[in-house]
Symmetry: C3
Subunit: 138 residues, 3 copies
């Protein structure tokens, strides 16, 4: 049994863009011959999150509506007084969704449902280059 960290990077547009990163993770598992175990998928940084969702542009738009209702971006959050960077809503969204998830790996595949994809959500206000750490135990 061994542990392996795989670092992947993704260019995002920010603004709560949702990116299906399932294929990139699956490719990394195959390249590293991970067959049975678990993959922890973690995004480095305090304004982005990982979860699972169906890859559907309509659903992504629905999520924007939920996010905007629960944690609006344009609100004058107190955090803006700290740095003047206007991304209080980005931080709050990221804390709510959390920084990562674990997905079982069986027979070399992420054990996801048919429509269940791993999604990177970048809540920051500007484009970012995001580092994802995939930690595999197998």
């Amino acid at each position: 049994m061994s542990v392996l960290h795989i670092s992947l990077s993704f260019q995002t547009e920010g603004r709560s863009q949702m990116i299906d990163i399932t294929d990139e993770i699956q490719d990394a598992l195959e390249k590293n011959h991970i067959t049975e175990g678990i993959a922890n998928i973690f995004v480095v940084g305090s304004t982005a999150s990982i979860s699972t969702i169906e890859n559907d542009e309509n659903l992504y738009q629905d999520m924007q509506e939920v996010l905007e209702k629960v944690i609006p971006m344009e609100k004058n959050w107190k955090h803006h007084q700290t740095w003047g960077d206007e991304n209080g809503g980005s931080h709050l969204r990221a804390t709510l969704f959390g920084p990562g998830i674990c997905v079982p790996v069986t027979k070399g595949k992420l054990k996801l449902g048919t429509w269940q994809k791993v999604v990177l959500m970048d809540f920051d206000t500007t484009p970012r280059n995001r580092e994802i750490i995939v930690t595999c135990f197998s």
Copy 2:
């Protein structure tokens, strides 16, 4: 040290039903002689989630009220245009709560608080048979 995947299945009623699955997971750990390590509990599919909660029917009803306020089911979500399956709210709820959690295992027991139980939340609109993967490292 070794990894073990245990597959459990649960029949649900959907409609955001919450089911305490702690005993089934604990039984599976004991049957497989897992004593020290961690259990990742993951639900396969994009309209269900795992978290922890006190097993109290009143609290389950409170959660329905929160869910309905934050992500109402009857809303005409854009996702409904994609498949016509009316479960946009189910997907959004599942992404918010996430697909799984890790729970420490010590002395053969899930290391939970007295009232803290592992809960399967099935947000889909109809009854489903759900597969839970319990991945144990010990």
Copy 3:
């Protein structure tokens, strides 16, 4: 490869207090010579959560506002009929944020972003002594 459980305790004020526990976890990793692997950080109990956030008092206040909007504490939750302990909102918040997260450990350090800190959120209505289990695979 081995597994290690580290138990840490924190005195909180409850009332959704947010406490940056990054340094205590990092110290525990160093004391136990964990260099490459993962740390699962799990709070025992059904009215507290773990996530990541920037350590900023203004942002913490913003989070209180979001929490109060989504899951108000003063509401007469049905759960209050069960035990009369007035902490229905505490339970609901904890289930929403979840009991724990996994963070990669590389070169002996939690692999967090510059501003990304591990936070204990204690949603209960009174001060509590909280047990955190840090389970390390390395």
